[in-house]
Symmetry: C2
């Protein structure tokens, strides 16, 4: 089994891209990553995407994107794992290179959500939940997160304002990321005044739907000198799963998918939570950040909010989170998010983040991409190759 590394990254800004279609966004990010790596062609492409069929009447993205990227005849496949599609596409590329079947694999994750009415997008997104036992009862993803947040407050005695720490940090960092969707700061007061979407989830708890594409080039570690881009080693890219429906879980406040995924990742990478220099968590909703911190071993059950205040989650804190804005500040182009996280972790490890949000000498960066309310979790641990 060959060790794998990433030698190229690319991304479009996260926006409402009304002037660009799905293929344009994907090709732009992929070609940027290829330029960064200094490659003219690829052995294969894995495409992460959730909703091209529902919202753009376009399935079959694998072959479409390789064709439009000028990679005539190359293998291209779409991988779907709801909001975890991007991370899943990275995982598939790791397998392709580790096997020796391919040497240079592009991963591009793309989503286009904003050209449609809110109801249409919300219904499409709800296909990540259990259609027979959740969605058909009228439950949307905001609703699922409202149930979890309410339960968390009830069980552990938190107030709504205690969650402010995550979105406030995300927006503070996003301001400095030119690819981020939101470039405005918020504070605890703005957060508390934010309108409810599904009580207790308010607008500033929820990441915005968005359009965008991000890409990386995965190669064998033994070959990195052949490529131009600064190589970053993928020490681990591990998957854990759980039930889709919340009501099938013994304890809905404990994300077993996260626990399974990180345990494997720490083991394979040979690190512990204390070694992590920055954590790109899946902060689709404030409650998800809290639950992820706990199941990832950073805080005890029910302690995530106190942990965040005490340890500090800012750029100079004990555990920097959402360093380029996270899903909340950078935006959440659903199936593309997992690759944005990896691109951002690599930007930090390379030392290429804008100075106010560059983590000083990061060693291990961890990304965690979550599909549904924790049913598919992909945790990656990355480091510079020669450290």
């Amino acid at each position: 089994m060959r060790k794998v590394a990433i030698v190229g990254i690319g991304q479009t800004p996260v926006r409402e891209h009304w002037q660009s279609n799905l293929r344009d966004l994907a090709v732009s990010a992929l070609r940027d990553a290829m330029d960064d790596a200094g490659v003219e062609t690829l052995d294969g492409v894995t495409v992460g995407n959730m909703l091209s069929g529902a919202l753009s009447d376009q399935e079959h993205l694998g072959s479409l994107i390789v064709d439009y990227a000028g990679l005539d005849g190359v293998e291209g496949m779409k991988i779907e794992a709801a909001c975890g599609s991007g991370g899943a596409a990275v995982r598939m590329a790791v397998k392709a290179v580790a096997s020796g079947l391919m040497d240079t694999v592009g991963v591009v994750a793309v989503e286009k959500l904003t050209e449609y009415s809110g109801n249409h997008s919300t219904a499409a997104l709800a296909t990540a939940a259990d259609a027979d036992y959740e969605t058909n009862m009228g439950l949307s993803f905001v609703g699922i997160n409202a149930l979890l947040m309410r339960r968390y407050m009830h069980e552990y005695g938190y107030e709504k304002r205690d969650f402010a720490v995550f979105p406030v940090n995300a927006h503070a960092n996003a301001v400095h990321n030119p690819h981020a969707m939101f470039h405005f700061q918020i504070d605890e007061k703005t957060y508390s005044a934010s309108k409810p979407v599904a009580d207790p989830v308010s607008l500033l708890d929820a990441s915005p739907i968005a359009d965008g594409a991000a890409a990386v080039i995965v190669v064998a570690e033994e070959d990195v000198e052949k490529y131009k881009g600064m190589p970053i080693s993928i020490l681990a890219c591990e998957v854990g799963t759980d039930t889709l429906a919340l009501d099938n879980r013994k304890n809905p406040l404990w994300l077993r998918g996260v626990e399974r995924s990180v345990k494997k990742a720490y083991h394979v990478a040979g690190v512990t939570p204390k070694d992590i220099s920055l954590f790109e968590a899946h902060d689709a909703f404030s409650i998800m950040t809290a639950l992820s911190l706990e199941a990832s071993g950073f805080a005890e059950a029910g302690e995530a909010l106190r942990f965040a205040e005490k340890t500090g989650v800012g750029i100079n804190g004990g555990l920097p989170l959402s360093t380029m804005g996270g899903l909340k500040g950078r935006g959440h182009p659903v199936g593309a998010t997992g690759v944005y996280q990896v691109v951002e972790a690599i930007t930090q490890l390379r030392g290429e983040a804008p100075s106010p949000i560059q983590i000083p000498r990061p060693r291990y960066a961890m990304t965690q991409n979550v599909g549904g309310s924790g049913a598919t979790v992909i945790t990656s641990i990355l480091t510079c190759l020669n450290k």
Copy 2:
């Protein structure tokens, strides 16, 4: 890189399964394959499916199916490549095992199409074509195949009745396959009297949409003695792609995706077309069978129909096709078809086909799963492990 083999197969009958939902069908086939292999758990599952989002309001099938199959926490991912989704899922499992990251991987491909109005299914299936340049102009897949068939007849001087050889053979074989959808014979007269769907494509040129699931268990060749099922070696499982839109192809009658895929497969397997004992072609439409035979190297351009008559495509012919009924006779549960083909090829290699349709001592079986009108092609070459 490890060599890979299949040690378990499972399938549901291909039917209008109005009483079973997507997860039931998938779990049934997967558990049957696991029983055949004699395994209690799996390291991972790849799910082939195209239209669960559009037709069952359910994405995120990977985690859903592993959960309902009793594989708590196991990695599950959905792969989508239009009608090539099943073959693509096999390809992904091959990578997972070849890499050494996983030892025992389940592939299950599932589709549920028949509970919806014809228009809804036709629109959903059209997402396999180019949405911006084909579908939005009103072109459906029947229309695409009608254009190809008319052009073929014009270029090479064939009559409509010359295509009868493929559907007549498919139905003759399907009669003996208990899992097939159609259990009635047709002849040249029935074929010629068949009503037009999109002239010159008539009803008996077009494979029926259907529900079903098929599964295989992929393992390392070095480990096959650990499993119960008779092992079949995957000598090759190779992908070729082409443009989605027909109008981007230099010669629409030459399937470059097929040519690319088979060339790699023959090379990797070390065989030539003459070595193939049976060919499970993607006979979604009669014209696709003809074009596939040509681009696969069995017949010269424009010669497929004469080749079929001369060589014989029946069970005792020179190149048996659609030996268990093919897409035309067994039925075409879109994203599941590629795995049905592999299950059927293995049934033949194991000598387990019902006697009237068992190929005598087959050596190399070839399956070819096609997404769209040739934009994604996965060709596999299989043989018994100890021959």
